[in-house]
Amino acid sequence: MTSTLTPVRSKRSALTKGQLPKYAPYAVLAAALIVGAAILALIGFNAFGWGVVSALLFAIGLVSWSAAVEGSRRAKDKLATCLVVGSFLVALLPLVSVIWTVLVNGIPGLLDPGFLTTSMNGVTGAFDNKAVEGGGPVMGGIYHAILGTVQITLLATVISVPVGLLTAIYLVEYGHDGRLAKAITFFVDVMTGIPSIVAGLFAAAFFFVVVGPGTKTGAVAAVALSVLMIPVVVRSSEEMLKIVPNELREAAYALGVRKWRTILKVVIPTAISGIASGVTLAIARVIGETAPILVTAGFATSINSNVFGGWMASLPTFIYTQILNPTSPSNPDPSSQRAWGAALVLIILVMVLNLAARLIARIFAPKTGR
């Protein structure tokens, strides 16, 4: 028995010779964490520095151990793996940091009584000075900004969705890859890259020429947002219409159904989940746009429910102005508290829209029957 076992054992070691043991990464990680903590203890401990130093030590340790045992090719492979995983962790840092900062700074503002139900009308620096000196609550809220954001975004959606959807239908059903269809595809792609502030300037310039210089209303902002939103809607709807199986169209034609009724009754219902989720994502994208609204709708501190007349506030511009031009220049803290509260509301809105897009895509997905 022993004589048969020994060659088997030596064979196994021959196969795994020149490889790091399986526990190697964990061992190096543990060592790196300990040594990192020791180094940081010498120069003053903080969690972020500990993470960075340990990660560096881990990479150096694992790669040099691998180079000693496995040779340079495997060591390079390990180095590349470390770098790739490291870059992913680095990319997570700002995400975590942004969300953390907004949560920590935003929750006090959000919990302020009346924050969601009052506007900034009549809130002057004097109130803020009082609040800082301990004589009163932080006044003011974002009701007017929420109202403005909802109205502007709704109007932009009403403009963009028909135009975007019809264009996608043209590209998929009528374009036949002709010259016009190719030109539209190309310029829709180019339009995706228009800087948001240029879209705002366009809308402003357009209304300056058509209506009169200095026209700033919610509708102008909605036009600016549509310029940004249309290409997104076109692209996502086009993708969705393209994956509708041709058999469905042919079956409808074979029954003698007109092309437009086929599109309305067969093609669009099949793709509606994807189209709806694409539209929701497009709304999520434009709802946080600041620059175009800044140059088209101006700032307002009071409630304005008329999209076609007067300056209008919105959540992003509210954040921007509260940070850059605090209501009370000598005591900016209440303003920044309101700004962070508004930022939290905005992020929640965007995240909810993103989540809704995923749910829509999943719930209304066509049943494949398989």
């Binding site: 995400l95 043209y170 310029f187 800087p195 240029v198 210089p213 600041t290 962070w340």
Partner: protein, 310 residues
């Protein structure tokens, strides 16, 4: 007789067809018209600034002297953003496409997409309130030890509100764009190429170097170009983070300005010739980003025809 009854059918159906296809065509043409209109209206509104006497323009030396420093500032900020974002983005894309466990990959991709979902003004606020404070000691160190390089010339800004901070915030914002596009391309690499490399005994990194990266190179280039387009036109990160000023070579002093931020900061209070000047600046930005985006799209379409990836 039968032939006519087959070809001619109810008028309602035919009208419906015509109306519908006409509407679709009109919508398509409207998009072209809008893009043309963007250019046209910007030019119309910009002409007063371009033709005005030099001393009427802000700075008193004409439009060219006004626009030149902020064009350079825009380019500096965008280049910083790309230098930081590109390696990280390619690493993240590789991680999601080739390194992460298959079951986690799509979830991790969604996490990176969340970065794109956060509104730019929130990034700006974060950069101004958090990042600038955290990073200013590092600027002091750079000025002390690397000060002989013109880009790190001291005295460093104590508030941290410099073009380098703005560039870092921009890099966070372009990261998801470059990542998602490169990820798509990496996933399109022919499986046979990858398996052939692995079968020849290549390690995972060698496989990526020999099969994935050469295949994806045009795609990566166009992804970077699209990221550049975004970085050039991004407004809020710079407007909120940077404490602007004259053009300086040092990245860690306050100074420099970008076109988009210049417009955002000045347009709301502008009037008369100033409005035209800012719209002309917007036109310049539009032309630059349009050129960058067109080159990127051109690279993508050319690549599509040759690779057979679609």
């Amino acid at each position: 007789m039968t032939a006519t009854s087959l070809t001619s059918s109810q008028g309602a159906g035919r009208t419906g067809d015509k109306v519908f296809s006409g509407a679709a065509l009109a919508a398509g043409c409207l998009i072209l018209a809008v893009l043309f209109g963007v250019a046209l209206f910007l030019v119309v509104q910009a002409i007063p600034a371009l033709t005005a006497p030099a001393d009427k323009i802000q700075g008193g030396q004409g439009f060219f002297a006004y626009i030149w420093p902020i064009v350079i500032g825009t380019l500096i900020a965008a280049v910083i953003a790309l230098v930081i974002a590109t390696p990280v983005a390619i690493g993240v894309a590789l991680f999601i496409s080739h390194f992460a466990p298959r079951r986690l990959a799509s979830g991790l991709g969604y996490v990176v997409d969340l970065l794109a979902a956060i509104p730019s003004v929130v990034y700006g606020a974060w950069g101004a309130a958090f990042l600038a404070k955290q990073i200013s000691p590092a600027y002091g160190w750079l000025a002390e030890n690397m000060g002989w390089l013109p880009i790190f010339q001291g005295p460093a800004s104590t508030t941290g509100k410099t073009i380098l901070t703005a560039g870092i915030v921009l890099s966070v914002m372009v990261l998801p764009i470059i990542t998602s596009l490169s990820r798509e391309i990496f996933l399109q690499t022919p499986k046979l190429h990858e398996e052939a490399a692995l079968a020849l005994g290549a390690t995972r990194w060698e496989m990526i170097k020999m099969a994935v990266l050469p295949f994806a190179r045009p795609g990566i280039i166009s992804a970077i170009m699209l990221g550049l387009g975004r970085a050039l036109g991004e407004t809020m990160a710079v407007a909120l983070v940077l404490s602007s000023g004259a053009l300086t070579a040092s990245l860690i002093q306050s100074g420099n300005q970008t076109i988009a931020a210049e417009i955002a900061l000045n347009f709301p209070e502008a009037s008369g010739i100033k409005v035209s000047t800012l719209i002309a600046a917007g036109l310049v930005l539009f032309v630059i980003t349009l050129a960058v985006n067109m080159i990127a799209r051109w690279v993508i379409t050319r690549h599509k025809e040759f690779s057979g990836a679609n």
